[in-house]
Amino acid sequence: MTALPPRASSLPLLAVTGLEQSFGGVMALAGVSFQVAEGLIYAVIGPNGAGKTTLFNALCGFYQPSAGSIRFADRELLGLPPYRIAARGVARTFQNLQLFFNMTVIENVMVGCHLRAKTHLFAAALRLPGIRRQEHQLRAWAMEALELCELADRAGQPASALPYGLMKRVEIARALAAKPRLLLLDEPAAGLNDTETLALRDLIARIRDSGVTVLLVEHHMPLVMGVSDRLLVLDYGSVLAEGTPADIQNDARVVAAYLGGAVSYAV
């Protein structure tokens, strides 16, 4: 998973077709289709309840969509449990923090490295010689991710002791530690102040530049318009529009339904 094979640029990394998911009577996803090329920041926007988180949950295998397909790197993800999808190279953060509050920051991120090393139960219990080396390696990988997210000085602290903004960043570090090809960020700027949001913008750009494709759900329009390469607009579980930030800002339907008036998003 570490060395990315070169890919024909015509083949999208992620191709979602006709995805449907309903809860009781609510159609949370009513046939969503879109494609994401590798190496882009691809934003998904839409009002609350539009189905953005549901889309993420379906992509990650937490829900079983009733129809459609999710092809990732030309292989089907639909029907796989989350941990197998993770093994294919998908990582994510959560809208509602899902940190391991019973662990330290670095331990959180070390769990992120879970798929990059195999430890046998008995080897671990007996602390066989290889384990020491492996722990060392995991720690180094975790530190790398923490440094990228500017969290290195917090490594030893309990995750529960961090301020909210940093907790959200630990989630990103944890996801990055998995060395994913596709990173899903669900409202990473929610609850952040302006300085933190700006730092987040740089971080997301850095992540893209390191070769990771980013799928970004976010309400903070300046951030979204400033950082993404393409956007998908969802409304009531359907695709309202798709295109570059400029396309979207000029789309009359989107402006009417969501952006609410002529606003310029130069950042």
């Binding site: 990650c60 937490f62 449990p81 989350p82 941990y83 993770a86 093994a87 990582a91 994510r92 959560f94 899902q98 940190l99 391991f100 509050f101 019973n102 662990m103 330290t104 331990e107 070390m110 769990v111 992120g112 879970h114 798929l115 090393a117 430890t119 139960l121 671990a124 219990a125 007996l126 602390r127 384990i131 492996q134 722990e135 995991l138 030893g156 602290q157 309990p158 989630e171 944890r174 996801a175 998995a178």
Partner: protein, 321 residues
Amino acid sequence: MRLAGFYAFAAAVALLPALFPDNYFVVVIGASAGLNVILAVGLNLLMGYAGQISLGHAAFFGVGAYASAILTTRFGWPSLLALAAGLLAAGLLAWGFARPILRLRGHYLAMATLGFGVIAHVVMVQATHWTGGPDGLAGIPPLNVLGWRVEGDLQWYGVIMAAMLLAVWLSLNLVDSQVGRALRAVHGSEFAAQMMGVDTARAKTQAFVVSALFAAFAGSLFAHQQAFVSPDSFNLAVSVELVTMVVLGGLASTFGAVCGAIALTLLQQGLVVFEDYEMLVHGALLMAVMIFMPQGLFVGLTQAVRRLGSALVGSKPPAAA
């Protein structure tokens, strides 16, 4: 020094009989505390670290004990082989049971493990042909470790303490490894753990099996040490006592479980004279600890000491171990 606490504990265990030679209290109560420590440390892996409650853990303790008792008395198996068979039986039982049971959460899991424990106890009482029924099985031969027959209180103290230290060491290693972190991740957030590639069903199963193995190991030793087993040692009340030990010391702390086990053993010994009050005190203690110090006595006290220490030194508290 990852294992500093462990070495200190091992030294204390070794020194006790030397400091108090021929002391019944030290060797006999010590041995019984040692068995409880093995049970509690194992259960803590499941309850404290993986966050899965079990109200039927005495069943696995019983499986180990009855395997040793039946195989040595009825079939003349060597005791170590019987012990291994007990471990295998408990491990397989736990493994087969883990998948369906560990899909459940909270109260449902409590009910399922409880039901499992009750069923196991009923079988011990009813399968008279094998288990001797309510009267139990007597005449279990002494443990024979490669020709050495373990006899006498002091020898038993040594064997059980060695087994206990092994259990504590294994637990400390496990928790501080990738396997242990995966377990704790399941407890912290099952969704996030899955998303980081942890097969949570497998992780929980591992915790369940390992804690069953610890219990069966303690059970085999118990059977040989007592030379007698009966269903009363493996009923619901015992399962609840095991849970008490784990929460008394503090969930998700190996030494918490150690302290909880020792504390409850001593308390029970202390209350032997006031037998009728035992329940009252046991119940009151359980409620009081859970209400006023839900993180457990050991964990709560170490945190308090650490806070006090850092207040005196005036520095930031270090990360929790």
